[in-house]
Amino acid sequence: MADSDPLLAVDDLRVSFATRGGPLAAVRGVSFTLAAGECLAIVGESGSGKSVTARALVGLVGAGAAVSARRLELAGQDLLALGERDWRRVRGRRVGLVLQDALSSLDPVRTVGAEIAETLGNHRLVPRSARPARAVELLAEASVPEPALRARQRPFELSGGLRQRALIASALAGEPAVLLADEPTTALDVSVQAQILDLLAARRADGVAILLISHDLAVVGRLADRVAVMYAGTIVEEGGVDDLLRSPRHPYTRELLAAVPSAHARGTRLAVHRDAAAAPAVAAPDAAGCRYAARCPLAEDRCRMADPPAIDVGHPAPGAGLSADVPRPAAVDLGLPAVEKGPPAAAAGPARGGGTAAAAVAHRAWCWRIDEPWPAPPAGPARGRVQHADDVVIEVDTVWKSFRGPDGSRRPAVRGVSFQLRVGETVGLLGESGSGKSTTAEMVLGLLEPDEGAVLLRGRPWSRLGESARRPDRHRIQLVPQDPLGAFDPRYTVERLIGEALRAPGRRAAARQRGRIVELLGLVGLDASVLPRRATQLSGGQRQRVAIARALAPEPDVLVCDEPVSALDVSIQAQILDVFADVQDALGVAMLFISHDLGVIYHTCDRVLVMRDGELLEQGDVERVLRAPAHDYTRALLAAVPRLGPATGQVPAGSGAGDAAPADGLGVGSNVGFGVGSGVGPRR
C-alpha cells in the first residue's frame, strides 16, 4: 500500500467493561487506519461498539473499561502509553470529537463562544484576551451567520443546524488532525443534515481526517471514502464506500441495506425477520463463531464453530453491468445513487483522499458465505392498495391554529390545512421540525381545538365538542408515540399496559383479558413471554411493538403515528414498518403517519401531505408527489436527501459459489454518477 505512515493506526483494538456479570466485551479486535484528508465511516446499530471505538481514540471510554490493542498510534505516537495528563494534550488539539445532538453536547448554561474558547484556553493556543474574537472567527469558518451575535448566545437559543455548527467549531478550534464525528447529523432535518455534511466535507478537503460514526447508510454514502461495518464489536465488512454500498457481501451489510426503506422496497417487506426475537447486536458472552450467525439467514454450521477469516471480495470490474435477472426496483430515481459528495467522486478518481489510493481500498468481508444469494425478502402482505372504499374516516376542513409566542404575539402554527383520511389508507405527513405537523396531529387526536375550521370523525363533528361528548369516541383514534419509553408507566408490566387500553385497568383485570392481550401481541410479532416485563426490560423495537399493540387494543379506526420509527436503528425500523403494514393488512385501520423521513413515508404511505411553516404545500399520491413533485419545496427536500446506492442487498442470482468474481451492481440505470476508478481488484 502506498500509505506508509497512516495518521491513525488501530490494530486489534479491544475494549471491555467490567459489569456485575463479569467483563463485557464491547469492542473485540477492531483494526483500521486513517490518513489525512480521508473519511472512514464505521456503521452499525446501537450496541455494535462503534461509539466505544471512537471514544477509545480520545481515551474517554470511561472508568471501569479495559482498553488494549496491538497498536494504537496517532502520527507515530503510541496512545496506549499516555497518562491522563498526556491524553488531555491530545484531546481537542490533535483529535476532536463531535457528538450528536448539540443541544445536550454543548453546556446549556454557557454561551457558545465560551465553549469554543474553552478549547483555545485548554491548549493555550490564543492569549486569553484574544479568545473571544478567535471564537467568533471559528464560528464564521463553520459558516455560522452573524457569528459575533451567535457567540454570545446559548445553545437553546440557536436552531439545530447552527448549534451543530457551533459544536463542530468547538471541536475544530484546536485544529486537530483527526475529527471523530459520532452521529453528527442524527436528529437533524434533511436539509440541515445536508449542510452539516457539506461542512464536514469541506474540512476533509482541508486535510482533516474524519472518522464518521453512523447508523445511517445514506449519510455514510455522502461523506465517507471507506466504510467499515461493525456488528457485535467486530468489523464484519470493509471496503470503498461505492463498492461496499453497491455490492455488499456480508449478510449483515446486506440486511442493513435491504432494511433501508428506499423506493425500491416499496410494497415488499423490509426485514428478514418478522418477529422481534432476532438476536440483538449487543456482544454476547464469548462464544465461538460469527456473532451474526444467530440472525443470519445464510448461516451454516461452520459459522457457529469458528470465527470466519477475512475474505477478499475483490473489485468490481469497471462498467460491469448488472445481471439481468436481478430484480430491479421500480422507482429507480428515488433509491438511486447520486451520492453527492463535495468533489464528484469520479473526478477525484483513485487519487482522492490525499494519497490513499481509492483503487487500492480492499473490499473484505469476514464471512464464508459472501457468495450465497440473498434469500428473497418474504413476500409482503398483499397490499391491495385499491381496497379503500371511499369511506372517509377523518375529514380535516381548513383548520387554523396559532399559539402565543414569548413576546405575546400570535404565531400561526397551522394555516388552513385540509385533508381526508379514508378507511384502510395511510396518509403521510411530511415536514421538517416546526412545520406544524405535530400540531395538526394533535387536532386530529382531539387534544387541541382548532381556532378556525373543523375536524370531522366519520362525518360527525369531532372538534368543538365538550370532552364528555368526545369521550365515547376517543377509542376510535389512537396514538403511536415516538418514544414509548416515555409514554409507558415504568412500573407497569406489558400485560397491564395493554390491559389498561382494553378498559381493564389494574393487574387482576388485565390478567382476565390475557387471551385478548396475547392475541394483540401476536399481531405485532410478540409472544406471551413479554407479558410480565416492564418497559425498561424491553428492547427499543419490542417497546414500539407493544406501543402499537396498545394502540390497537380499543379497536380504533385511526392510528396517528408520530415519528414512530425515527429513534430506531435501521434494521429495527424495517421490522416496525413491516409490522405497520401487517397490521393495516389485517385490520384495515387508517393511519396518519408523521415523519420527516422521505424514505419511510414513501415506503409506508399511500398518499402524502407536505407541510412547511404551517401550510399544506402539496398533497397527493405518494408516487406522484415524491417522483414528480409540484412544489419547489418538495423538490428541495428530495434533493437534500443523501442517496444510497441501489441497496437491494442482493448478490446477483447468477453468481454461484463457483464463480466468485462478483458482477456487482455498478452502472445501474441512467444514473451512473460515478465509477469506482479503474482499479480492477485482485480476484480470488
Binding site: 480520545v58 488531555r88 484531546r91 457528538l99 445536550s104 448554561v109 485548554n122
Partner: protein, 311 residues
C-alpha cells in the same frame, strides 16, 4: 430584559399579597384566642373599671371588628406591628433589634455549610474511592446527630476546656463561631448529598463528554461545567433552609445564650404575647416571600433557559 422586569413586578405584587394574607390569618387567630386581651395586657391584677376602659380604648378594642382590621392593616403598611404586651415596647423595635443577630447566625451557618459541602461534593462525586465512602459516612453522621448535642459538645470542648471561644452571648465574631458551626454541621450532610447527586447527574451529560474531549481537565470540568448544574436543586433547598434559619434557631440560641428571633418568639409564645407572635409571623412571611423571589431570580441567573419557562 423587559420580560424580567415584568416578571419581577408581578412576583413582588404577589409577595405583598402573601404577607397581607399571613397578617390577616394572624389577626384572625388573635380574635379567636379565648380571654380578654386587655386583661392579658394589664397583667394578673384586676384593674379598676375606669383603668380597664381607658386601656381598652387606647388599644382600640372598643371599635367593631372590621374597623380594627382596617386599622391593623393600616398600621402594618406603616410598619407598625403594635405593642408587645410583655416587653411594653413596639413590636417592630423588638423584632428589629433581634433580627440582626439572627441574620448573622443564619448566614454564617449557611455559608459555612455550603462551602464545606461543595468541597466534599466536588472532590468525591462520581468517584468510587474509599475517600468517598468515608465522606458519605461522615455526612450521614452529621445529619443524624442532634444539633443541641453537638452544641453542648462544642461548648464543652472549645469553650470550657480550651477557652478558645466565649461560653455565652457575645456580639463578637468569636461568639458567632460555635453556634454557626453547630448549625452548619446539621446542614453539611444534606447539602453535600444534594450537590453530589446533582454533580453526578451533570457529569453523565453529553456536554461533559464534549468538554473532556476538548482537553478540559477534571477539576475544570467539575467547577466550570458540572457545579453550575448541581446548584439548581441546591438553590431550591437553600431558600427553604435560610428561611427556617431566619425564623430562628431556638435551641442553638438558647444553648449559646444568644439574642435572636428564635428566643423572643419562644418567650412570646410562652407568655401569650400575641402582638409579638403576630409580628414575628408577619416578618417570617415577608422573609419567605422575598427568599422565594430571590431563589427564582437565582434560577434564572444560573440557568438562562429558565427565563423561557418560569413565568
Amino acid at each position: 430584559m423587559r420580560s424580567t422586569t415584568w416578571w419581577l413586578a408581578r412576583r413582588l405584587a404577589l409577595a405583598v399579597l402573601v404577607v397581607v394574607g399571613a397578617a390577616t390569618v394572624a389577626f384572625g387567630a388573635l380574635q379567636l384566642v379565648p380571654g380578654d386581651p386587655v386583661h392579658v395586657m394589664m397583667g394578673g391584677a384586676a384593674p379598676s373599671e375606669e383603668v380597664y376602659e381607658r386601656t381598652r380604648h387606647e388599644l382600640g378594642y372598643d371599635q367593631p371588628l372590621p374597623v380594627r382590621y382596617g386599622e391593623f392593616l393600616g398600621q402594618l403598611l406603616r410598619g407598625d406591628l403594635g405593642q408587645s404586651y410583655q416587653l411594653h415596647q413596639p413590636v417592630a423595635d423588638v423584632i428589629g433589634s433581634q433580627l440582626w443577630p439572627t441574620v448573622q447566625l443564619a448566614l454564617a451557618a449557611f455559608g459555612l455549610a455550603f462551602v464545606v459541602a461543595a468541597a466534599l461534593a466536588v472532590t468525591t462525586a462520581g468517584r468510587r474511592s474509599g475517600w468517598r465512602r468515608v465522606a458519605s459516612a461522615a455526612e450521614l453522621l452529621m445529619i443524624s446527630t442532634p444539633g443541641f448535642w453537638v452544641g453542648v459538645l462544642l461548648l464543652t470542648f472549645f469553650s470550657f476546656r480550651l477557652h478558645l471561644f466565649p461560653v455565652a452571648g457575645g456580639d463578637s465574631l468569636a461568639g458567632l463561631v460555635l453556634p454557626a458551626a453547630t448549625l452548619a454541621i446539621g446542614l453539611i450532610g444534606v447539602f453535600a448529598q444534594v450537590m453530589r447527586e446533582g454533580l453526578e447527574r451533570a457529569l453523565e451529560q453529553p456536554f461533559v463528554l464534549s468538554a473532556r474531549a476538548r482537553g478540559t481537565g477534571e477539576t475544570a470540568v467539575r467547577l466550570r461545567h458540572a457545579l453550575r448544574h448541581a446548584l439548581i436543586p441546591m438553590v431550591t433547598l437553600s431558600g427553604w433552609i435560610v428561611g427556617s434559619l431566619l425564623g430562628g434557631a431556638v435551641l442553638i440560641e438558647t444553648i449559646f445564650s444568644r439574642e435572636g428571633l428564635g428566643r423572643i418568639t419562644a418567650t412570646a409564645i410562652a407568655g401569650r404575647d400575641l402582638p409579638l407572635v403576630t409580628g414575628v409571623a408577619v416578618v417570617a412571611a415577608t422573609i419567605f416571600a422575598l427568599l422565594n423571589i430571590a431563589v427564582d431570580l437565582l434560577y434564572r441567573v444560573i440557568d438562562p433557559r429558565m427565563k423561557e419557562v418560569v413565568r
